[in-house]
């Protein structure tokens, strides 16, 4: 029988950089889960990219044993959760696997946007929150101020906060004692039948799909026949085990346990996060709460810069997808960029991470097209279609109206930058719904914004306006009708698909003008005059002209010189091979990159 009295499942939630991973490491050390000599800085963030960016992308559960001051041993399951809004569903599933959450706050920086968002997520999952004020060793630490913020912003009594310095190992034992005392014992253990939550999954070359699970009730062991309750799919359990912290095979997993199962499933896409697993023969009556289908919010085309890399890119995408069911892609063909993929992401960070991993792990040079959100387009014939590629937007005459996804953003910032941030929000077609004072220096704005407006440069500009002190978190907030249109860029009358974007009508002209101007700077002059136009439908809203160059001739051409001359011309021809021909105009590959990298596409 499981010893529920001596089991505690909890996670650590925090804003980026507030010391989550360091705290996890200290806990592992104190429980002697890993010997000191085996400790690697940031043990849990095993992916290079995670270490570098200081963010957690995948969940990292670990089981450990803590001998408490009462002399008894407690089984701790710590789940390191992804900390970014893009992964809020994943976060919510990781949280759902726990009964308690350590809410980590930097003693110098105080409560940030993600602190609040994560605290709310934890409360929604019914978790007991243990506030932890970390980095108290910093000279700039201001514990009383943070305690005040806790009370004011999160309504958490100040005296509940545990004070730590994970870096120096201060207060860690107090924190673990608080976990013993305050994290409730595993819930819903009394429900009949096996109920096991899938909160993450990875792909292993040898074992196949490995699901990270939390068992709520019942027992699961190898050879059990199991059922995923959302879709009724059956599978055979091949192995069960725990994280200590490496995966360690066990005979069985029981109520309250956090561990992994390996089944005969081979495709990550078949596994749905948040699903409930039960036994085929004695199924549970009800699924665990909170399951939902996740769908990509942001789309972008990814193309190899060297077209011969297409197959390599395809293979890389396939491998990434193995480990990331939230990432979707399908092949796509662009006139300008050739063969590539249309990719769907949970959000901006997710997009950046995937792009970066393709570059890094598969050593591929790729170019990404301007990101797009998913629009609902209702046509005049009453049909509603989803559009996430500007190219697929119907003719303006066929469109009755377009709806775009909205977000509720909470922006934390120093009160001195409030004017500039409000201006930014309004430039991005946002509305500030209310303002909340965090303390005398910081405020929080709650705004409603179109998602597509924050896709490219919002965060960078927020950081720059607030000198790095601003932070933002957001949640999806439904769809709203908006005056949107497709902005096309034409080069000598031919539309360049990779430059098309869906924009708000009021912004089309400015963006069109900026794009034309930028293209004029980037495109090399050619033998012919080049007209660059921005248009909405058939209406041209901006125009630039690149004059033809006037001289490209070598004078000397003697008899015996023909081979030499031909070689010179062949060389010029090779140079042009790296260009894409749009109608009569040769556009160098790097022009696409430069334009697409023009952070805001020139809307400012």
């Amino acid at each position: 029988m499981p010893d529920l009295h001596h089991t505690r499942n909890f996670c650590i939630i925090a804003h980026v950089d507030h010391g989550k991973t360091t705290l996890s490491d200290r806990i592992l050390e104190l429980t002697r889960t890993v010997e000191m000599r085996d400790m690697k800085e940031q043990l849990l963030d095993s992916m290079d990219l995670e270490r570098e960016r200081g963010i957690t992308i995948k969940s990292h559960p670990v089981s450990m044993v803590y001998r408490a001051r009462d002399g008894q041993d407690y089984a701790f399951n710590l789940i390191d959760t992804p900390g970014h809004v893009d992964f809020s569903y994943e976060v919510s599933r990781s949280l759902a696997a726990c009964e308690g959450a350590m809410l980590l706050i930097d003693a110098a920086q105080g409560i940030e946007a993600q602190t609040v968002a994560n605290a709310h997520l934890a409360l929604e999952q019914g978790l007991e929150i243990i506030p932890v004020i970390n980095k108290i060793d910093l000279p700039s630490a201001d514990v009383p101020a943070i305690q005040q913020q806790l009370e004011d912003v999160l309504a958490i009594p100040a005296e509940e906060a545990v004070l730590t310095s994970a870096k120096n190992g201060l207060g860690i034992e107090d924190l673990l004692e608080a976990a013993v005392a305050r994290v409730p014992q595993p819930r819903w253990a009394e429900v009949e039948g096996l109920r096991m939550l899938i909160f993450d999954c990875i792909y292993d070359t040898y074992k196949g799909v490995i699901c990270y699970v939390r068992v709520f009730s019942g027992t699961v062991k190898a050879n059990d026949s199991i059922l995923t309750m959302s879709d009724g799919m059956k599978a055979q359990v091949k192995e069960v085990g725990k994280f200590s912290p490496a995966m360690t095979k066990q005979d069985s997993l029981q109520a309250g346990d956090v561990g992994y199962i390996v089944t005969n499933r081979r495709d990550v896409a078949e596994i749905k996060l948040g699903d409930t697993i039960t036994l085929t023969n004695t199924p549970a009556k009800e699924m665990l709460p909170g399951y939902k289908e996740v769908s990509p919010m942001v789309f972008s085309g990814i193309y190899p810069i060297d077209t011969s890399d297409y197959n390599k890119l395809k293979a890389g995408m396939g491998k990434l997808r193995l480990n990331d069911a939230a990432f979707v892609y399908q092949s796509e063909n662009s006139v300008a960029l050739g063969f590539g993929f249309r990719c769907g992401f949970l959000g901006l960070l997710h997009m950046e991470i995937i792009q970066e991993r393709i570059r890094r792990e598969y050593d591929l040079d790729v170019i990404s097209t301007y990101p797009s959100v998913v629009y609902f387009v209702t046509k005049t014939d009453g049909e509603t279609i989803e559009v996430h590629n500007p190219v697929n937007l119907p003719d303006p005459a066929e469109i009755d109206h377009i709806e775009e996804p909205m977000i509720n953003a909470s922006i934390h910032l120093p009160s001195t930058s409030i004017g500039d941030v409000l201006a930014l929000v309004s430039e991005k077609r946002g509305l500030c719904e209310h303002t909340e004072t965090i303390d005398e220096k910081r405020v929080m704005l709650v705004c409603r914004l179109p998602l597509n407006e924050i896709l490219v440069d919002f965060n960078d500009r927020l950081k720059s306006i607030t000198h790095g002190y601003g932070s933002m978190d957001y949640e999806m907030a439904g769809y709203e009708q908006a005056k949107l249109c497709r902005l096309d860029i034409m080069v000598n009358g031919e539309s360049v698909d990779a430059f098309s974007s869906i924009v708000h009508k009021d912004k089309a002209e400015g963006r069109g003008r900026a794009l034309c101007k930028r293209l004029k700077e980037i495109l090399p002059r050619q033998m012919f005059k080049i007209a660059i136009q921005a248009s909405i439908g058939s209406q041209v809203i901006a125009r630039e002209t690149i004059s033809a160059y006037r001289k490209d001739v070598t004078a000397k051409c003697y008899g015996g010189d023909i081979s030499r001359k031909r070689k010179l011309l062949e060389k010029q021809k090779e140079g042009k091979k790296r260009m894409k021909n749009i109608g009569s105009v040769s556009i160098p590959q790097d022009a696409f990159i430069k334009i697409l990298k023009t952070s805001d596409g020139g809307s400012s």
Partner: protein
């Protein structure tokens, strides 16, 4: 290949790879002369001449370099006699390039005697300062002395080479150079815009930012030159070549019309018997190669109708006579699918880079300034 070898003109190019110094703009293969090298060069040239087709008439000869005129009179004579011995009959046109500092009456007498019909002298400029900036070894005084000797020797045709758009040169200086060249009364003038070819001292200066290419300035020099030359009675027949009526360089014309030519000497290129190739550039390598059974061929290209059609256009369009496209298609029936080329021609006509009259395509004056770009596009689609 439908090129009818027996009726097509054949040219002979002889490369004399020796120079007294290297001009800053020159990328041609050349070495400083040593007596031993010269003797071995002659021996190897004799081998090359012996390889000339025994049954083909050579219509034109061109001696270029290097500086052929650098050879002493007796050496010129030796090379010339060896060559004549290998030819079925003396050529109709025989050009020898000379630098002003190398022109001497005794050499000219030898050349005249050999049957040389045309002397081409690399004047470059009449301005002492500009000559110096080009790294040339001669001064204006030497030009006049050399010209006097050439006139006295009485060759049927004469050419002067001029260079323009030299860093520091004004438009007025350029026009003065043209006037001065015309005043001397040659039958032909070649004008070359200063180019910055890799492996030249000038290119190095360009790369170091010591000189700059100014497109608008070069265009102005071209246009001013063309206008003035026309006024002075020199008719343009190729982008850089101007002649009194009937005094065009036939050797070059034949080359540009994709006839055949055989090159002798190090680095000399040939287009002959369905292929294009080059001799080794290095003097030693070339000489060694000439003593083996197979004369060394480098960068060998087997010609076909498609290549020849493309090159006929690329080089034909550089001439003012232009090309008869329909005739070219007949001449190269196996050139294959040309719809892309036709599309390009259509576009170039529309942009008035090409003109069309009496069945011939020609570059417009604007197009002449874009000849390389046009050539590149032709090679892209053919």
């Amino acid at each position: 290949m439908t090129l009818n070898a027996s009726t097509s003109a054949l040219g002979l190019y002889c490369h004399v790879p020796f120079c007294a110094s290297t001009c800053d703009f020159c990328a041609f293969y050349q070495e400083k002369p040593r007596r031993g090298d010269l003797l071995r060069y002659f021996e190897a040239m004799e081998r090359e001449f012996a390889l000339l087709p025994p049954d083909r008439v050579v219509d034109t000869v061109f001696w270029g370099g290097g500086t052929p005129g650098l050879l002493a009179a007796k050496d010129l004579e030796r090379l010339g006699r060896m060559q004549l011995a290998a030819l079925v009959q003396p050529p109709h046109e025989w050009t020898v390039e000379m630098a002003p500092s190398t022109v001497k009456p005794d050499k000219l007498a030898v050349l005249k005697d050999l049957g040389v019909t045309r002397i081409s002298m690399g004047v470059q400029s009449f301005d002492a300062a500009l000559l110096e900036s080009l790294g040339r070894l001669h001064n204006p005084k030497q030009i006049y002395r050399a010209w006097e000797a050439i006139e006295q020797a009485g060759f049927a045709a004469t050419n002067l080479d001029l260079i323009f758009a030299i860093p520091g040169q004004s438009l007025a200086q350029w026009q003065a150079d043209i006037r001065e060249a015309a005043r001397l009364g040659p039958s032909h003038l070649s004008t070359y815009c200063l180019t910055f070819e890799e492996d030249t001292a000038l290119y190095v200066k360009l790369a170091q930012g010591k000189v700059r290419i100014d497109e608008a300035r070069e265009v102005a020099f071209y246009e001013a030159g063309w206008q003035l030359l026309d006024e002075l009675g020199f008719t343009q027949y190729e982008i850089s070549n101007f002649a009194r009526p009937g005094m065009e360089c036939v050797h070059n014309l034949n080359t540009w019309r994709m006839h055949e030519w055989i090159g002798c000497g190090p680095s000399a290129a040939s287009q002959y018997a369905g292929e294009r190739y080059q001799r080794p550039s290095n003097l030693d390598e070339w000489m060694r190669g000439m003593w083996t059974d197979a004369a060394p061929k480098q960068e060998q290209v087997v010609l076909n109708d498609r290549i020849l059609l493309a090159d006929s256009l690329v080089f034909g369009l550089r001439m003012n006579e232009g090309v008869d496209f329909a005739a070219l298609r007949q001449r190269y029936p196996a050139a294959g699918e040309l719809s892309q080329l036709e599309g390009l021609i259509g576009r170039l006509l529309e942009e008035q880079i090409l003109t069309q009259a009496e069945g011939r395509l020609r570059l417009s004056p604007k197009g002449q300034l874009l000849a390389d770009a046009v050539g590149t596009e032709i090679l892209e689609v053919v």
